[in-house]
């Protein structure tokens, strides 16, 4: 047996901790067995009160430079024997703390990755829901329950500034209604003498709606469009439209869209993005799927699932619709931004569709006669070529 100085402690610590006692504890002389391993000792103590069970659970042997767990006490022939197992975490705490490791998880770390999904936090429970809305009138400028919308009429008529063979006019609904009323209430505007063709026959023969080849309603504020033009400007304010061989005075002004660009419009608004109520601090990843999901419903384009990563660090969502009132062709762009700064060049969603409502006019017409005549003309031309060869 060899004697050794041992500091004994009644010490509370976790098994997998580098924690060490800060005081000296109770100092004793112990007797080591002749044969021992440094990591596992068998020490005999000669306590004054041998009848009292030792309450120590931890030890330090300075000469070995190590801390030990006391794993068992034995009473043997008037002595208390302790089995000691080295506590490597406490013994080498300084070196461990000084080492650089690849840390995957930590409670206290200056490096936080709050957006990194934590697999130990499972989505559970009944979901809560929030929504943000923009009323159609607030987005487009006009609602269906008012006469504020814009009617765009494409008519065939004499006009040097037309787009193709059709001249487009943008007007308010009352102006459009007044125009139809004038056209269809009396054939006087035809200026055909009743001595040549009776009024009844004029009505039967001439259908003014045949000159209207495009008629579409848009939910945008007609006053602004007619007076100020579309997003790119252009077009001129007129008081009459040319329809077939005739000219019609309008009840109020309209805008003649003499270039494709003059029918261009851009409308944009933004939402505040609802955020996960627990998605703060180190739990910012709650703002991501599967803890959070976003769905955008944008009639008439459809319903879209939004990638939650697009809203990280963003507070608002912008929606922009660019469209032409000459065709109804529209492009929807959705982008995320912060502080009312939205860059639609970095859109998270770009989708094409059609907006505007086709208004029924007096006829749904396809001038199939032209097609039949064309086919007949082609047949005659072909036969004529054959006959020429026969001759």
């Amino acid at each position: 047996m060899s004697n050794i100085t041992i500091n004994l402690y009644n010490f509370e610590k976790r098994r997998n901790s580098t924690l060490r006692p800060i005081d000296a504890g109770d100092v004793y002389q112990g007797e080591l067995k002749q044969d021992f391993a440094l990591t596992g000792l068998d020490v005999r103590f000669r306590f004054t009160n041998f009848a009292e069970v030792p309450h120590y659970n931890y030890a330090r042997i300075e000469s070995f430079g190590r801390y030990y767990w006391i794993t068992e006490w034995y009473y043997e022939s008037g002595f208390w024997r302790a089995l000691l197992a080295v506590d490597v975490l406490a013994s080498y705490a300084d070196q461990i703390m000084d080492s650089v490791q690849f840390v995957t998880r930590a409670t206290r770390s200056p490096v936080t990755k709050p957006y990194m999904i934590d697999p130990l936090a499972q989505p559970a429970g009944i979901p809560t829901r929030e929504y943000r809305q923009i009323q159609p009138g607030d987005f487009w400028g006009a609602g269906v329950n008012t006469n504020d919308g814009l009617v765009v009429l494409g008519v065939v008529g004499a006009d040097a500034g037309s787009v193709g063979a059709v001249t487009y006019y943008a007007m308010s609904m009352p102006v459009f209604s007044s125009l139809l009323n004038t056209m269809l209430s009396s054939p006087d505007w035809l200026n055909i003498s009743t001595s040549e063709i009776s009024q009844g026959l004029q009505k039967a023969v001439i259908n003014p709606c045949q000159y209207i080849v495009y008629c579409r309603w848009f939910p945008i504020y007609s006053y602004d469009f007619v007076n100020n033009g579309g997003t790119l400007g252009g077009g001129e304010i007129v008081n009459s439209i040319n329809l077939g061989w005739w000219s019609f005075a309008l009840a109020n002004i309209a805008r003649k869209l003499d270039t494709a660009g003059s029918g261009w419009m851009r409308v944009a608004r933004s939402f505040q993005v609802p955020k996960h109520p627990e998605g703060t601090g180190n739990n910012l990843f709650y703002q991501l799927s599967p803890y959070t999901s976003y769905t955008l419903e944008f009639p008439p384009f459809g319903v879209f699932e939004i990638d939650t990563t697009e809203f990280l660090g963003k507070t608002i969502m912008g929606v922009e619709v660019s469209f032409s009132v000459l065709t109804g062709d529209a492009t929807l762009k959705v982008a995320a931004g912060a502080d009312n700064n939205i860059d639609f060049g970095k859109s998270l969603l770009v989708y094409e569709g059609q907006i505007g409502v086709q208004l029924p006019i007096a006829q749904v017409a396809g001038n199939i006669n032209n097609f039949k005549q064309a086919l007949a003309a082609g047949t005659i031309t072909g036969l004529d070529a054959v006959l020429q060869e026969v001759k």
Partner: protein, 135 residues
């Protein structure tokens, strides 16, 4: 006998060739006529197709009455373990001293300590790999 046969066969061949030639010529003329007809007729008909247009349709205003809506759905996160016993994701190389005061989990730990025994190093690495407290 064989000479007569040859003559007869030759005559058959001559007659057959004449019929074939006439049929072929007729087919050529038909084909040419169709070509001529098609080439002359098609451009006229195709050009006239441009005149074909439709106007007017029935639309509906339903989509213009619907609000534009952003829906959000939130699930609470249920933590399998207490944060003090499991920590947050870090995934970074760093000095363990900076994690002092809490739980730490290390991937592929490697440590060198002057004077430490091999067994002790293995145990330390096992602790780091399984999660321990730097205190």
């Amino acid at each position: 006998m064989s000479r007569h046969l040859d003559l007869l066969t030759g005559a058959q061949e001559a007659i057959g060739n004449a019929v074939t030639d006439q049929a072929s010529a007729l087919l050529d003329r038909v084909r040419g006529t169709v070509n001529t007809f098609t080439q002359a007729a098609l451009p006229t008909a195709v050009a006239a197709l441009g005149q074909l247009h439709y106007s007017g349709s029935s639309g509906n205003f339903q989509s213009a009455t619907e609000p534009i809506t952003l829906y959000a759905k939130f699930f609470s996160g249920y933590r399998v373990q207490d944060i003090n016993e499991s920590g947050y994701p870090v995934y970074t190389r760093e000095r363990l001293f900076s994690c002092r005061g809490g739980y730490v989990l290390v991937d592929m730990p490697h440590i060198e300590i002057d004077g430490a025994l091999l067994l002790e190093l293995q145990v330390i690495e096992d602790f780091l790999k399984g999660g321990c407290y730097i205190e």
